[in-house]
């Protein structure tokens, strides 16, 4: 056999060889490091609000903590789940088995968050979801478990903040456009409840296929319904497209627009004038005050001059909170760390007046009702939001009496 013929075969083997590292049995070597695994969307539809920026935020949290905890160096590994829950499942397992991760983080995209929760529960590793918004993580007994935490925001807080406020301000008649999937429906249900609780009424709703790019039909229906508020129960590209067409049809003249989920990267996609005037609830903001701005400046220095989206910001806070809990617990054992995580009150650059609720592992913290500024009022790049008011955690999140999970006392 000539060697030349073997070359392609050799190339293939060389490419695949690194994969042939056998999985070490759980609990073996690896106790000389503390490993944090970020499993997020690095290359898909959410990569702008999450992606590499979130990993950077994680690393900064580790560096700011000193790079070590309990005398051991902290290592960060990052995975791209590409919005595929199957891949997220596989990568979560790999992070635990191969890298001995003690913290699983991020999970932007609710379906991947739920898949990860299953693994976290089975393998007893702490998972903190900063990206996905589904409240099933903390309010559905099928998913909530002692190892999973929901950090940063959830569907209930978003819907209640925005819908309750707009209704109280006089927007009694609503029309909603809902993305026809679980996240959209959850938003719709919470919006409807908040509107009705404040004396309003949802005149009509359209369940629109996820990924729709032409909203003209639904916008015309909304216009002729006579509603004074238009609620967008969707996220990401769907919201961006809807907004573009809302401007095209001149709907902002007669209606208030309630956007349920919005990040700085979405505003950047169209430019603030398109979004100007929209009301949204956010979990944190880089331009909130001096404390947040200090972090944002350091982050921007490493991120091509761009400050963090509030989702990336949540990552920084989550890692710091975890490491401090580990330090207090004196161990990385998840149940011991749990005791230090829940009920502990703190305030950092992202989360103010915060604590993790023992019953459902949900981070209760101040949320902010914000309005998008027109370009003329934007003082510096990315400073798109104007904070209208602070919504204290107790008001923003689902009250204890309605929570269906009971993880502890």
């Amino acid at each position: 056999m000539k060697f030349a013929r073997l070359l392609p075969l050799a190339a293939v083997c060389a490419l695949l060889a690194p994969m042939a590292s056998p999985p070490a049995p759980a609990g073996a070597a690896g106790n000389d490091q503390v490993v944090v695994a970020n499993i997020g969307d690095m290359s898909g539809v959410y990569s702008a609000l999450d992606g590499a920026g979130a990993v950077l935020a994680d690393q900064m949290a580790i560096d700011d903590f000193g790079g070590k905890v309990l005398g051991k160096p902290i290592k960060l590994v990052s995975f791209d789940h590409r919005n595929d829950p199957g891949l997220a499942n596989q990568e979560t397992t790999e992070a635990i088995d191969r890298d001995h991760a003690t913290l699983l983080l991020d999970y932007t995209n609710s379906a991947t968050a739920l898949a990860g929760a299953g693994v976290a529960k089975e393998k007893h590793v702490i998972q903190i979801v900063t990206g996905g918004g589904t409240d099933a993580l903390t309010n559905d007994p099928k998913y909530c478990n002692p190892y999973t935490y929901h950090y940063g925001y959830d569907v209930y807080a978003l819907a209640h903040g925005t819908a309750a406020t707009l209704t109280k301000q006089g927007g009694k008649k609503w029309y909603t456009i809902t993305a026809n999937y679980a996240f959209g429906h959850a938003l719709y249900n919470d919006v409807k409840a908040a509107v009705e609780a404040n004396g309003g009424k949802v005149l009509g709703n359209d369940d629109v296929p996820l990924g729709t790019s032409d909203f003209s039909t639904y916008l015309l229906k909304a216009k002729s319904s006579g509603a004074d508020v238009l609620g967008l129960d969707n996220a990401g590209n769907d919201t961006v497209n809807a907004m573009k067409q809302i401007n095209e049809f001149g709907m902002k003249k007669n209606m208030k627009i309630g956007v349920m989920l919005l990040f700085e990267s979405d505003v950047h996609a169209l430019g603030p004038d398109y979004w100007a005037g929209s009301t949204v609830t956010i979990g944190g903001y880089w331009d909130l005050d001096a404390k947040s701005r200090a972090f944002a400046a350091r982050f921007a220095a490493k991120n091509h001059g761009n400050p963090p989206t509030w989702s990336q910001f949540a990552n920084y806070s989550a890692v710091t909170t975890y490491l401090e809990a580990v330090k207090r617990a004196g161990t990385t054992d998840p149940l011991a760390v749990e005791k230090q995580l829940v009920g502990y009150h703190f305030s950092d650059a992202f989360a103010r007046n915060a604590y993790i609720r023992p019953q459902d592992h949900l981070l209760i913290h101040d949320m902010y009702l914000a309005q998008v500024l027109p370009a003329s009022e934007v003082k510096q790049p990315w400073a798109y939001f104007k904070i209208l008011k602070v919504i204290p955690g107790a008001e923003a999140y689902r009250p204890l009496s309605e929570v269906k999970c009971h993880l502890g006392s």
Partner: protein, 291 residues
């Protein structure tokens, strides 16, 4: 109520305008060249990005973009055809479908790396903002423009192909290339040119889409599959079929969205299944692909 219905029909005509332009390009490429161009949605996306990039870097306005962007994308398409596609002509037509599928994956990710995922801003040109009062309907000016532009381009293209000698030559070249070459006409150049033209059509649609749709790397993804369905409904390879069917499907989907939104994106496929059962060659097609 009448105004609402009128408005919804116009909404349908607008999305139909895009289907018509895109399926026209696809039908030309398939009908004349036997290439199934899965990358057609990517060409549409590149057209929109070319408009954005032109505006950002060269201050290119919308009207200039309508001309420059199709030319740029046509060149890209022709390079792809010469370098890659032409190697597959002697093989089964399904290989070029697979190749263009790979090209789509490649280009979409490359655009994501360069421009990011969240989208890039593009505004309606000043001359076309605002609304126009048509008497029975008050409707955004820009959308009326889209319908008009699409009709002009589509009908113009159809006239060239069916009624001019250039068109006749094209049609002859695909049926009997050897004979046409014997007349001294350079067939490969003709093929490359036609492919480029098809891509230019897609890019033109992309420029028209940029002001009202988020200019993002995956914008072609969601439109390519319904476009294929439109081409099949119209009759693969039928130029007139794709134009008429494009507008028709647009209106049908809009009507569906009015009465039962969840089904709106599926209506196209239901329509396709029904047409294929009743009239397998498509509404305007010849007995192609059957025994």
């Amino acid at each position: 109520m009448l105004e609402n219905l009128g408005g919804q029909i116009f909404n349908g005509l607008v999305s139909g305008a895009f289907y018509a332009m895109l399926s026209l390009g696809l039908a030309i490429i398939f009908g004349l060249l036997r290439i199934v161009n899965f990358a057609h949605g990517t060409m549409y996306m590149l057209g929109a990005f070319a408009a954005y990039f032109g505006a950002q870097s060269f201050g290119l306005n919308f009207w200039a973009a309508l001309i420059v962007s199709p030319i740029v994308v046509a060149i890209i398409g022709m390079v792809i055809e010469r370098l890659l596609l032409s190697r597959l002509y002697k093989l089964d037509v399904l290989y070029n479908l697979l190749l263009t599928f790979g090209i789509t994956l490649f280009l979409e990710d490359a655009m994501r790396l360069k421009f990011g995922m969240q989208g890039s801003p593009y505004v309606i040109p000043d001359q076309l903002t605002g609304i126009v009062n048509l008497g029975f309907l008050i409707y955004p000016t820009y959308r009326i423009f889209v319908i008009a532009a699409s009709l002009i381009i589509c009908i113009g293209t159809w006239l060239v192909i069916e009624k001019t000698s250039l068109g006749a030559t094209l049609r002859a070249a695909t049926e009997n290339p050897a004979l046409v070459r014997a007349f001294g006409i350079n067939v490969p150049v003709l093929i490359t040119g036609v492919f480029g033209f098809g891509c230019a059509l897609a890019a033109f649609a992309g420029v028209l889409a940029a002001p009202t749709t988020n200019v993002a790397p995956l914008m072609g993804d969601d439109i390519i599959i319904p476009t294929f369905a439109v081409v099949v409904i119209g009759g693969m390879g039928s130029i007139l079929g794709s134009i008429v069917t494009g507008f028709l499907v647009g209106v049908v989907v809009a009507m569906g969205a009015v009465f039962y939104p969840p089904i709106s994106s599926t209506l196209t496929y239901i329509l396709m299944a029904v047409v294929l059962l009743i009239r397998p060659a498509g509404l305007f097609g010849s007995a192609e692909g059957l025994r």
